[in-house]
């Protein structure tokens, strides 16, 4: 990797960033946000392409990526946690949503 960051937040408002390489617990994560970077510490393994929390979320809180809601948190998680199907769920895919 020739660049100075290993994760990217697609929209500055996003609650999650996307890992640009495989991250291990304890890794320093340098997140590119627009023209700037911010840092956090990975609390879990996050594979390339997977999401890492930029901030803590409470259960039930919307999770945003691309500047839009992608899911709801089904349990609380902290900044640096892996964010995936174990802690977030589609708000549209369920039978009761219609």
């Amino acid at each position: 990797m020739t660049i100075g960051w290993n994760a990217i937040a697609i929209d500055p408002q996003d609650g999650v960033a996307v890992a640009l390489r495989d991250l291990s617990p304890g890794d320093e994560v340098i997140v590119r946000v627009g023209g700037k970077v911010e840092t956090l510490t990975a609390r879990a393994a996050v594979a390339l392409g997977h999401k890492i929390a930029r901030r803590a979320h409470a259960a039930g809180e919307p999770v945003t990526k691309y500047g839009a809601r992608i899911a709801l948190a089904i349990k609380a998680f902290a900044a640096g946690d892996h964010v995936h199907v174990h802690n977030i769920k589609s708000a549209r895919a369920r039978k009761e949503s219609v």
């Binding site: 020739t2 890992a19 997977h50 589609s90 219609v98």
Partner: protein
């Protein structure tokens, strides 16, 4: 990046359309006749076989949609001539009549004609296909404008890099084609779910915006009625492995394939666009079915983005495989036609990669082979919209 190419070398068809390929097609329109048709096509090098497993016991919208797919594939500009093979002459003539509107040569063989002798039907089909191949070989490519191109845009085995890189790069390429006066279509209605508020804002008018929102709602309700959860199906297992957690997340990445130009309309499966520009197709999310819908609507070329890799290509329209994932590009050297991973690695921007992809589109439109064509991956997959009687 310099100026993008504005012309390609294609086959001018009698109806004014432009082929990027010059296929002679042996098409079975009924499951009963598939082997007769396939045997004939396999006897002649370079002749393309397509068959459907269906064709009887269908009614209503499902019957119409099936016929539209068959007729649409015959009319596709990449097809120079067609031998249509079926069982009863009446049904065959109906399809042949609609296909003949393209002005290209159409021949028919019915099992009726040979008193149900499948080998005799194959022998007749071989002679017909031989005539058509002889005639097709005398056609020459000529310079045609990019505005004559109609490109289908698809994704399969997407992961989180698709929404970040391969889909936006394809979108940038779609913008270049639309700006050149060409046409593009993106399907898979379920993959607008969760992003319809963004997509519908790009509709050319209120009626199109409503058609987009309505199409998503119909699919969402249809899935909900089954009592199924979309998660696990869409996103599927390979999407989830790749980091996609929900249909909304997948959709927000998938819509990047549409680029940024206004959406002119929502097509039904296999429906030909009425004009130029960007269209959506209200169609199935399984990519083989979606691609057949595009080909039947007249698409002469496809873009197909992937994360983990996906070998499937359309039979009639060359299908350009694109990934933004560095390890996929390195691993699947004879599958990935366009490596967008320099964008992932921060070495190229999306607009430049889109222009580079557009150059490949024009080269493939002019005859450069895709890996899928070299390996013979192509197939057609027909969509059913209802159960058989």
């Amino acid at each position: 990046m310099g100026k993008v190419p504005s012309e390609f070398l294609g086959y001018a068809r009698p109806d004014g359309s432009a082929g990027t390929r010059n296929h002679v097609l042996v098409l079975s329109v009924l499951g009963l006749a598939n082997r007769a048709a396939e045997r004939a096509a396999s006897a002649l090098p370079g002749v393309l076989y397509v068959g459907t497993p269906y064709g009887r016991g269908q009614y209503g919208d499902d019957k119409t949609a099936h016929r539209d797919q068959l007729v649409g594939l015959c009319r596709n500009p990449n097809v120079a001539g067609v031998v249509i093979v079926g069982a009863d002459r009446g049904a065959l003539e109906g399809i042949a009549h609609l296909a003949a509107a393209s002005g290209k040569p159409i021949r028919t063989v019915a099992l009726d004609d040979t008193h149900e002798d499948s080998l005799d039907a194959s022998a007749i089909a071989i002679r017909h296909a031989g005539d058509l191949a002889h005639a097709a070989s005398r056609l020459r490519r000529e310079k045609l404008p990019a505005s004559a191109l109609f490109m289908g845009v698809e994704c399969g085995h997407s992961d989180a890099t698709s929404g970040l890189v391969a889909n936006p790069v394809s979108g940038a390429c779609v913008d270049l084609l639309v700006d050149a006066g060409g046409t593009a279509v993106v399907g898979e209605t379920v993959e607008w779910l969760g992003a319809e508020h963004i997509v519908s804002k790009r509709a050319a008018n209120d009626a199109v915006a409503k058609a987009i929102v309505d199409a998503v709602l119909r699919r969402e309700q249809a899935v909900a009625r089954t009592g199924q959860d979309l998660t696990g199906n869409n996103p599927g297992a390979e999407n989830i492995r790749g980091g996609l957690s929900s249909i909304e997340e997948k959709s927000l990445g998938a819509i990047a394939k549409t680029g940024s130009r206004p959406i002119q309309g929502v097509l039904a499966l296999a429906e030909r666009p009425a004009g130029k520009g960007l269209y959506l197709m209200d169609g199935p999310s399984f990519s083989p079915e979606s691609l057949t819908g595009f080909a039947a609507a007249g698409a002469q070329l496809m873009l197909f983005t992937t994360g983990a890799g996906n070998a499937f290509t359309n039979a009639i329209a060359p299908t350009i495989k694109i990934t933004g994932r560095p390890d996929t590009a390195r691993r699947l050297v004879q599958q990935i036609d366009f490596d967008a991973s320099p964008v992932f690695e921060g070495r190229e921007d999306i607009v430049d990669a889109g222009a580079r992809l557009f150059e490949l589109v024009m080269a493939v439109a002019s005859g450069a082979a895709t890996w899928g064509e070299i390996h013979g991956e192509g197939a057609e997959c027909f969509t059913r919209t209802g159960a058989s009687m």
